[in-house]
């Protein structure tokens, strides 16, 4: 990690304003449909969380209505790729559609990790429409706690 300049976080006069701006923006955030990431990218990007721990990363993706065989999780050169297809259920035989809000089609998300991940230990689990991928950090990348001796 590069040596970083200490920032003065004690008093930031614009922090309150930024929080207010975020609050107001979220009021107008009606978009519950996951959009596409790039201009020419035709795949949908479902909502995702990346959480970093002392010894692992956890990735959670919202994938409602999907089964294991529809999801492809791969990990190569510290990049996690989750892709697949959310198929439209074509059980409907007759009648009209009143409302269409859920998404379907191809989806893809890629996450590059800032620290080395042990590719062998990556585990993925799908439960209640949420995919959880656990990626243990490489031994060298794990946070080490150094105790300070008081003399």
């Amino acid at each position: 990690m590069a040596i970083m300049r200490r920032t003065n976080e004690v008093y930031d006069p614009f922090r309150e304003l930024r929080t207010l701006q975020n609050e107001i923006n979220s009021l107008f955030d009606f978009d519950r449909f996951p959009g596409t990431t790039g201009l020419f990218d035709r795949s949908v990007s479902p909502a995702l969380d990346v959480i970093e721990n002392d010894d692992s990363f956890t990735v959670r993706v919202e994938l409602p209505g999907l089964s294991e065989k529809d999801i492809d999780v791969s990990f190569a050169s510290n990049v996690l790729t989750i892709r697949g297809e959310k198929k439209e259920e074509k059980e409907r035989k007759s009648g009209k559609v009143y409302r269409r809000e859920t998404w379907n089609g191809n989806f893809q998300r890629t996450v590059t990790f800032p620290l080395a991940v042990d590719g062998e230990g990556v585990k993925a689990e799908l439960k209640n429409g949420i995919l959880t991928v656990t990626l243990p950090k490489h031994e060298e990348a794990k946070a080490k706690h150094i105790s300070v001796n008081v003399k």
Partner: protein, 119 residues
């Protein structure tokens, strides 16, 4: 009631598809992270209320590098008209997706009236 509201977390409506299929109205809602124990579907005063609680995001789980999943529960109410049979409502939850089947009353279904010639 007000007391309960304070404890309640922020809610959002779940994305929902509503369509008709063979005399039935089907609601398909994407509710990822909702388990059967935390789901409630009930009817009150012509309102179909669907609420699903999710596990609150554990802020202490670590440092969030990306946080897009909203830390909210699902809640939405739909008004039912008189054509829906209140006693024939089924709900099914699998893989974070809820399917509610509403039946149309037999008396409301279109039926053919025979015309008898009278000569």
């Amino acid at each position: 009631m007000d007391k309960d509201k304070k404890i309640m977390r922020k809610t959002m409506p779940a994305p929902c598809d509503i369509y008709e299929d063979e005399g039935k109205i089907i609601l398909r809602l994407d509710m990822p992270g909702v388990t059967r124990e935390h789901l409630s579907v009930n009817i009150e005063n012509d309102e179909l209320r669907i609420s699903g609680k999710r596990e609150p995001t554990d802020v202490n789980a670590g440092r969030f590098l990306i946080r897009e999943i909203p830390d909210r529960d699902f809640y939405q109410a739909y008004t039912l008209d008189t054509t829906i049979d209140r006693d024939k409502i089924e709900a099914e939850l699998a893989k974070g997706r809820l399917i509610v089947t509403l039946s149309i009353k037999e008396s409301e279904k279109p039926r053919k009236i025979e015309v008898h010639p009278k000569d």
